[in-house]
Every structure is written in structure tokens, then in C-alpha cells.
Point group: D2
Amino acid sequence: IRIGIIGAGRIGKIHADNLLRLQQAEVVAVSDLFAGPELEEWAVARGIQSIMKDSGAIIANPDIDAVFICASTDTHVPLIKQAALAGKHIFCEKPISMDIRQTEEAVEAARQAGVMLQIGFNRRFDHNFKRIREHVQSGTIGEPHVIKITSRDPNPPHPDYIKVSGGIFMDMMIHDFDMARYVSGSEIEEVYAQGNVLINPVFAEYGDVDTAIVTLKFENGALGVIDNSRQAAYGYDQRMEVFGSKGNVAVANDHPNTAEISTAAGVYKDNPLHFFLERYNEAYIEETQLFIDCILNGKPVPVDGQDGLQAERTALAAKLSMRLKRPVKVSEVLQLAEQYSAFL
Amino acid sequence: IRIGIIGAGRIGKIHADNLLRLQQAEVVAVSDLFAGPELEEWAVARGIQSIMKDSGAIIANPDIDAVFICASTDTHVPLIKQAALAGKHIFCEKPISMDIRQTEEAVEAARQAGVMLQIGFNRRFDHNFKRIREHVQSGTIGEPHVIKITSRDPNPPHPDYIKVSGGIFMDMMIHDFDMARYVSGSEIEEVYAQGNVLINPVFAEYGDVDTAIVTLKFENGALGVIDNSRQAAYGYDQRMEVFGSKGNVAVANDHPNTAEISTAAGVYKDNPLHFFLERYNEAYIEETQLFIDCILNGKPVPVDGQDGLQAERTALAAKLSMRLKRPVKVSEVLQLAEQYSAFL
Amino acid sequence: IRIGIIGAGRIGKIHADNLLRLQQAEVVAVSDLFAGPELEEWAVARGIQSIMKDSGAIIANPDIDAVFICASTDTHVPLIKQAALAGKHIFCEKPISMDIRQTEEAVEAARQAGVMLQIGFNRRFDHNFKRIREHVQSGTIGEPHVIKITSRDPNPPHPDYIKVSGGIFMDMMIHDFDMARYVSGSEIEEVYAQGNVLINPVFAEYGDVDTAIVTLKFENGALGVIDNSRQAAYGYDQRMEVFGSKGNVAVANDHPNTAEISTAAGVYKDNPLHFFLERYNEAYIEETQLFIDCILNGKPVPVDGQDGLQAERTALAAKLSMRLKRPVKVSEVLQLAEQYSAFL
Amino acid sequence: IRIGIIGAGRIGKIHADNLLRLQQAEVVAVSDLFAGPELEEWAVARGIQSIMKDSGAIIANPDIDAVFICASTDTHVPLIKQAALAGKHIFCEKPISMDIRQTEEAVEAARQAGVMLQIGFNRRFDHNFKRIREHVQSGTIGEPHVIKITSRDPNPPHPDYIKVSGGIFMDMMIHDFDMARYVSGSEIEEVYAQGNVLINPVFAEYGDVDTAIVTLKFENGALGVIDNSRQAAYGYDQRMEVFGSKGNVAVANDHPNTAEISTAAGVYKDNPLHFFLERYNEAYIEETQLFIDCILNGKPVPVDGQDGLQAERTALAAKLSMRLKRPVKVSEVLQLAEQYSAFL
């Protein structure tokens, strides 16, 4: 499989490196708006021959079988449409877009073109979260009753990014909405969102919050709650549990080692793995492998456009809920989004 | 201090036994509606001389300094008023009543009589939860941002009890509302409650739920969430965490031992301490000791009538929120309770 | 059962307090060489009527059914003999003596008198170690192959005590030798001991060590190792594991709470329960209850004279091994002790 | 750096794969006595061009800068000597040989030739054990007093391997002897070894044991103990702790995930990572990277010939100790080995 990477920021480079380790994939071109000597050097060291600023040449290249869309979110929809038209399989980072209608169009475009579209919900491939899902699916904990997810970042993003991030629900909690669907095996029906600015007033400037709690009602009757914070002093906090009729399955954070030091001051251990690159390293590798594997073997991708769409709808419902100060059904987001468009 | 116990069910007997271990307290009388040979035998073995059916004689007894009100909830308010008039210090189990107005009257009666009134929120004296509060108060974790409480019972109560329990919020989550105030050091301003019947349809028959999640907004801006279940297959689940600007403090369950068994089937340990009697054994002892100590030394009790009242207001707000499907402010419960009285 | 306590130091007082909580036991007299106003006050507060300096009056008192021998080790043998002659059941602290021959005589005296003799190996009643034994006996871990015990004190004893302690093996590790027999269900056949003075040179002054490792060979072929330290900066360290053909069972320390605090500096928790009074509180209660229960129901005591004797033989073997720099069989200690008497 | 791999068994292939990921290394040739179509296929998939049966061509190849000696132990010494003469840097698996004199010659040959010789003690690069060493070196736990190492394999090796393995001390515990030196920062002065056949009588047939405990005396006065088992039902058990004057640092096993499942049957988690390939995956990568880095930058290798030699001497001392049933000094092994050569 010959691959073109569109957008060579942090995440684009990770995908490239992971693809380079696969026997059946080859990275043949990389495009980035800010391509320059530094990126050239990076590409040369990896044997990637074609570096360019314009993504158009990648999409136009008949030798390329699949593209990884890792550019800024506002470019995703047009790129998906173009790539689909060009018959290329597509791996796209989350979210597809911040506008549900547009996301729907992009997903539809890929469907009509008959190309694969995988969304970058990397956490589905995390060893801990997969183990939760396995236990839920195998019935170890019975029927799920309560799903709880904690997700806290070590540091808030740069203010420039906050401005265009789409807000905490679309940018950060969207991962957790996908996780909630993934581990529960049920769709989210309704959300109620609360948020506050407790870390940095800059979030308020952009109409965003830095701390949020969202409760969930699932179609199968289960309840859920997600809490997010943009800044945890001790690092990246990624925990989850599913409580059911026969038991509970909970995952704790991963730590860089298991050392426990006991002194007169108490017993301590090192903080969790620093951030997503460390924590989800293996998950990034696996999602890439699976994407290639699905293309090669004509299997459905593990995270498809509908998954991306559903997470976005839920994020929008949370945003509306926080603004309207009432629970919001996922099914009513489109209508509410129009009604309160000035508000969002 | 000479004590009379009113109501010799499970909890009344625990308080009696704990009082018997104190040098400065003496249990002189016990009343119970169902007093009989069994209770006689129990009392004789403990050297308690006076057993009766009617609580009136205890309240009328001038030799008694303080009473423990452990009878059914509907008797609490009249008993508090009578005991207050008789000048006796009062330890009353939670909740004081299920009617906020009546609770207010009872608290006021104790205040006017100048007697001490301590409410049985035993979890305030638990070694784990006290440690959380100490770390919050000492500033270890900075300003609290998110308070999370999980509270699950090993088994649902008997249907007869469910009927008169006041519902999951007033009967069970009331402890967690008190904990939320206790560990956060802030008042709860608003709640949003969700509940469902996932364990046993009998809860629905009484307009109750067996699974609930309530989100909290605190006056200091912090957010919170409590999840309750009436039945956890693995036993009593009592966990809590407070996340703040400088860190997180979390407590896990207590287990009967630290043994970890590794076999080909995996690594396992015994389930948590079975239920509240095992888990809060030491907390029950300490709340009793402190009550006696406060009487002897004229100190304010550690959990007073206002604490009882505030927890009840919050429980009522949760009940209303679930019914009205919208967030409810604690400050509006009285008005809403009147408006929706047919509803509750 | 009417009890006399001989020796009202720290451990004698603990036994007295635990006996006072039992319905079927009564502490009627306490003797202590240093009895004075302080002890009088202590006894009065507990309703113990008879306080004296001389233990003789306790043994001579026909109303006393059983004695707790908690005086210094050198008094144990004569007191056991006298109490046995007087037909009293005996609870004796460990070790019975530091001279195996004398211990044998004392055990024999109790046997001939037909009185019960229980030795104060309190750790047999610890919730963690009992759980290990249960798993070994039930076959969960198969045939035991390796027994590992770690036992470290928070602080070394006072030099005055070190001098008369009998050395680390007889004073401290004797508990672990008993534990090794208890959890493995097999007799110790041979030991090899190493020790060093790493904490305080005062140990060397008395021919003692403060750090020791002893390996064990059991009759059933299992191997074992015990490590002791007189001073752990983080407090009392009491861990154990048994590895067998089907698995491993390990117990960790008990902590005063389960709080885990995460800050930028790492994740920490409080140190283990401080020392034996905190850690073995419940075990002390249980050993006392069982002793009373055995007297009342004519059952054999859970830790008898042979148990005391066997632990002492093993401690002596360890002492000899360290001196002779070679493995020593428990069966050869008497002969070696005579041969190297000047050495011990 | 152009590399030749000598011996393409399991460990040789791992090194090859890890080298393939490095930018600055190239695997140009692989030799294996049993080279055939399967190995050809393996090599082709990795772009390794030269496959052969005879290691001679690798050593004779002037284009090769360094060799990885991963063939059977009996070939190590001649291969090291040949490679040293040919001026190639050498990475050699442990042990160098089972004959100390020969190992000395090989180490000397490399020294005289001025080539680097790194020994494959991969555990030095494990994240857990490195953290122990860091804490010991930084003084967190003060002066080391007691070093404890547990090392248990999930399954015993094949009988054919047992026969030529050199025995449990030279084959398995040699890693732990190296770890003891590594984490303590002190040399082992004396050992006392005990062993038994508890798992499979086949070990006895070859004069070997399957379960062993060795106590250590270090030059700095610290004591230590290592326990080994050839078969742990629950998998690979790799734990370690160093106790010192200011505290203790302990590492637990790594698990494939952090999931904790609570059901009516108890709380369980998955067994540790299966075996050395899973557990030490990252360590293997790091030792390879460092070897290449040392060659490129002329830095001394992190585990040199003296390290290999010292571990072998200690293993031999343990073997002698078990046979002679007495403690053995590492300094006396050569003399004893001659004296008891018939015995070994």
C-alpha cells in the first residue's frame, strides 16, 4: 500500500513513523503547508522521497493508494471529498469537522466512492480500554449499568489552538464520547453538560471551559459520566470503569515503571506516562496496522465515518446542553444547532 | 453521661455497644416498639437495666442526659422536639425527616432548648474520607475542581423498606451529599439527577430508582458527580476523589486483607469489606466518642442540625431534578416542593 | 474465667484491656515489680481491684483460673512451673526462655499439671497471615516451594533492652520462625544465618546484629528466607509470601488509609501502620479470646508449648549458624549449644 | 555500522529486528548452523542479503564492523577470540562461557584487540530496574542494607536444554547476580546457595535443581537474597527491592493492562507479561541502541567483559556452595573449581 501523508505536524509524523515499520506499507509522499528544510531532513532520514506544500499533488497521484489526513480540522471535509473522488482510502484524524452537516457530506462522499474511511479514535486500540470492552462483551460484568470516564490533560493547549479547537467537547471529550460508545456497546441517547473555567481565564475569552462533567443516558438504559480537565498537575489521567449487573471493570493509569519508594515521608511512585504520545504509543501503531490490513483484505475499518459522526453529534449535544442549561438528546442536535446557531 | 437509646434495631445496638466501651458514658435505658425477650437478653448481657416499649419514659427520666434516636425516620422529629424540651442532648440518625419544613422545626427546637443535636453521618469519621478532607484543607491538591463519589451497596434493601425509605436520594445518596460538602469545604448550589431501574422492578413500583448519577455545582465553582447503585455484585463500594489545581486525592475500598493470589487464572484478591457495619465500624465508634466528648466539654458537635438539613435539601433537589428533568438549585427546593407536592 | 496478669508493662496492659472486653473473662489481679500510683490509677479506671508487686499472691490465689505471664523473659520458666503446680492455665509471652532445656522443663511442667499453656505468637491471628495459611491449606497455590518473610521494625529497641533481648534471632526473628512453620505447614529442618551491624554499633557491643537474613530448609523440601531489620525509615514492614506449584500468595503491609495523592511530585500514600500495637491490634484481641474460649470449652490452645519450643530451637540454630558460619540443623542445636556454650 | 549476526535463534532474531529499526545500523549478514529456507524467508522479508551456515565468513568479511554472538554458549569463547582478532566489535549473549578461565581469556582477547565487548545482560535496561538503581545512586534510600531479587520463569526449558544449560545458577540466576551488582553498586563477596528439585525430576538427572535460594554478602556490608524457580504457574515473575538506611525501593511485575475486574468471586487482574520477550522488549531495544551508540562515539559499553566475568564467578560460587553445603567466597572459586572439578 502506497501512502500519502497530508499534514506533517506531530500526529502526521507519528503515523508516518508507524507506517514505516510495516512491511506492507510505504510512505511515498508528505505534504504540509509549512514544508521546509526541517521537514525535508525529517523525510530524507526516513527515505520518503516526495515532500510538498500542496496536498493536491498527493491526491492527484495515481500511484498513491491511501491518504492520512492530519492537517487542521477545517481542511478535513474538502480533503475527504477530493480523496474519495480520486478513489483513495482515507485515514482522517478526529474530528472530521465541527459542522455535523459537513461531516455527513464527507462520510457520504467516502461511502459513494466506495473507499475506506477510518477515523483516528486511537484510544480504541489502547490495551486497557480494549480489555474493558472485552470484559463487557464477554459478559463478565453482566449488563452495563454505569460507565465512568476520567480524562485529564497534563497541560492546556496554546491559546491560539484553544480559539480554533471547537471547544472542550469537540476537541477533547469527543474521544471520551467515542470511548463511551465503544466500551458500553450502546448508543448515547442524551447528555447533560456542566462546565466551568477554573484553570485559565483564556478559555472564557473563547467561550470555552477548561473543566467539564457530562452525564450520559444510553439507549440500553445505562447511565454514564465523563469528567474532563485541561490541566492535571500530575500528568495525563486516563481512567475508565464500567459497572454492571455482575461486577465492575476498572482501568487505572499506566506508569513508566512499577517502582514504589518508601521513606520516612511516605510511599511514592512516579507519575503516569506523560501525555498521549507516551500513553497511546502502541495504540497509534495498532490503528495504523489495522487500517492497512483492512485495505489489503477488504475488511471494514474498525472506526468508520458513522463513528466519527456519532461522536461529533454527542459533542455538539454537550455544547448545547451547557449553553441551554438542560439535558439534550443526541437526536435533536441538528434542529437545536440551527435554532441556536448564533449561540454556538 | 447517662444515655437512653430509642430504637434498638441494628444501628441502635451498634451505638449501645460502642457507648459501653466508653468510660464516661453509661447506657441506662433502651426503648423499642418491639421490645421482647430477645432484647431483654441482649440488654442483660450488657448490664443495661431498663428496657421498655415506650420511648416516653426515657425522655421523662430526669437521670438521663442524652438520647440516641435510632427509631424509624417518621418518629425523629417528634422525638427531637420532646427530647429538646426535656433538656436532653440528642444524637439522631439520618435523615432527620423527609420533610424539610419539619426538619427545620426539629433543628430549631434543639437550638432553642440549647441542647446538642448531632446527626449520624458516620462517614465523616471514616479514616479514608478524613484523609481526603485533610489533604483538601491543607492545600495539598490546591483549589478543588472536581469531586467524585461512588457509593454502591452489596444488596438492595427489603421491598418493605424501599417503600418507606424516601427514595434513593434521601435514603442512600444523602450520605454522599454530606460527604461532598465535607470533603469539598463548599456548599452545593445546584444538582442534576438521572436515575433508572436496572436491578429490580420493585423500585419502580414505589416511584424509586436503583441506579442514579447526580452532578453537582458547588458555590466555589467546583463541579461534582455522585453515582449510586443499590447492588454491586462484589460488595460494598465506597470510593471518592477530589481533583484540584495542584493534584488529586483518591481513596480506594478497604479490603479484609492484603493477600494477592496469583495462579494460572490470574491475580486476585478478596472483595471489599462487606457492608457498612464492617467498613464503618471504627467511624461509628468515633462519632459516638466525639458526641460524648462534646457534651462533657461543651464543644460544638462535629455534625449538627444544619448539616442534616443541608443534606436533606440536596436530596430533595435531586429528587425534583430527576422528576422535572432539569437542573435544580438547592435554594429553590422549598418552593418547588410545594409546587410539585403531588409529584413527590 | 478469672484472670491474673503478671507483669503490667505495655503488653500486659494490652492483654488486660482486651480481656476486659470479653464477657466471659474477668481481670481480678495484676502484679508488677514496679507497681505504683500510676498503675493503681490505671487499674482503678478499669475496675481491677487487686494490684501488687509480688506475683506470688496471684499464683497462690485459689480464685484465679488463669494467668497471663507478661513479665521479663527470665521470669517465665519459674512462673510457668509455679502456675502449673497451682493448677492455673497459662498464657505466656514469647519466648518462653532463652535456654531450650529450661523451656522444655516449663512445657513439660504444664503438660504434667494438665493445664493449658498458650504462647503469645500473636501474628498467627493476623488477618493477612491467616489468609496466606488458608490458601496454602486449601491447596490454592499447590505444594509450597518457597516461603519468604520480611519483617522490619520502625525503630531499634533501647540499648538496655538489646543487652537482655537474647539477640535478633531469639527476640525478633522468633516470630518469623513461628510464621514460617505456621504458613508452610512444615517443620524447619535447617537454617543458614547471616547478619551484620548496619544501623547502630551498639548492637555489636552486645554481640548482636541489627540486619539479618536467614535461609530455611523445610522437611517437606520447601526452601525459605527471612529478612529482618531493626530499623525501617518508613515504619513497620511486615510482608510474607508463599510460592507453590500452582501459584503464589503474597500479603502487603496494612496502611492507615487508602488515600493516594497525586501531585506534580508524584503519587504517594501514607506509610504502613506504625508498629505492632497498631498492626496487630485485632490479632491481640483474637489470641486472648481464643485462649479464654479454649479454657471454657476444653479445646487445645492454638499455639502451644511445642510451638514455643520449636521457634526457640530454630532461633538458636540461627544464632549458631551465624557464629559458626555454616548451615545448622534444628535437630543439632542442643548438642551444638553445649559444645559452643562459651560462644553464645 | 554494519552488523553480522552469528546464531539466528530466538534471541538472534530479536537483536536483528531491533537493529533494523536503528538508522545507524545495518544487518548485512546472518549465520546459523541450521540455516535453511525458513531463515532465508525471514531474512528476505527484512532485506538481509547474506545468509550462511558458517560464521567464519562473517568474521572474515572486512565490511562488517561488529558481530552479535547469539549461538550456543560453547561457541562464545572461540568466536570472541576470532572476532577480536578480526578487529570487530562484539556483542555477546550471556554467559560468555561456563569456564571462568576461558571467559578470562576471551575478555582479555577483546581487551588486547581494542574492540568493544558488550555482554547481553538485558535487564540492566529494564525501566523498573533502572529506576531502582537511580534511587540507590541518588541516595533516596540511603546506604543499601538488603537486596532482594525474585526471578521465576513461566515454564522450565526443554530437557535437552537443561542438559547443556550449565545449571540454574549459570543459566538463569546469572542475570540476578548481575542485577545484584548493578542495583547495589557493590561487589558480591560471598554466597550461600540452597536448591531443590520440586518441579520436575528431570533436573535431578542432570545434577541440576529447579528451585533455588542464594544469600549474598556484599563488600559494602549489605546482605542479599535471590530466589529462582523454573516454573511459576502465573507466568514470569520479576521483582526486586533494595532496602536501605533511609527507605526501600521495590518494583512489582509489569502487566499487559491495568484492568481490575470485581465480581462476586473477588477482584482480579491479568497475569504479568508472559515471558522475557514481552517483559524485556524495550530493554532489548535499548541495549542494542547503546551498543551501536558506544561504537559510534567511542564510549565504554554499559556492560563489559568484567561484568560478564564477575557474574560467572558468582554463579560458580553458588554452584560450589550448594554442592559443598557451605558459604563460598567469590574470590575462592577458581581454586575450589580446580579442587572439586570432578564434582561440578
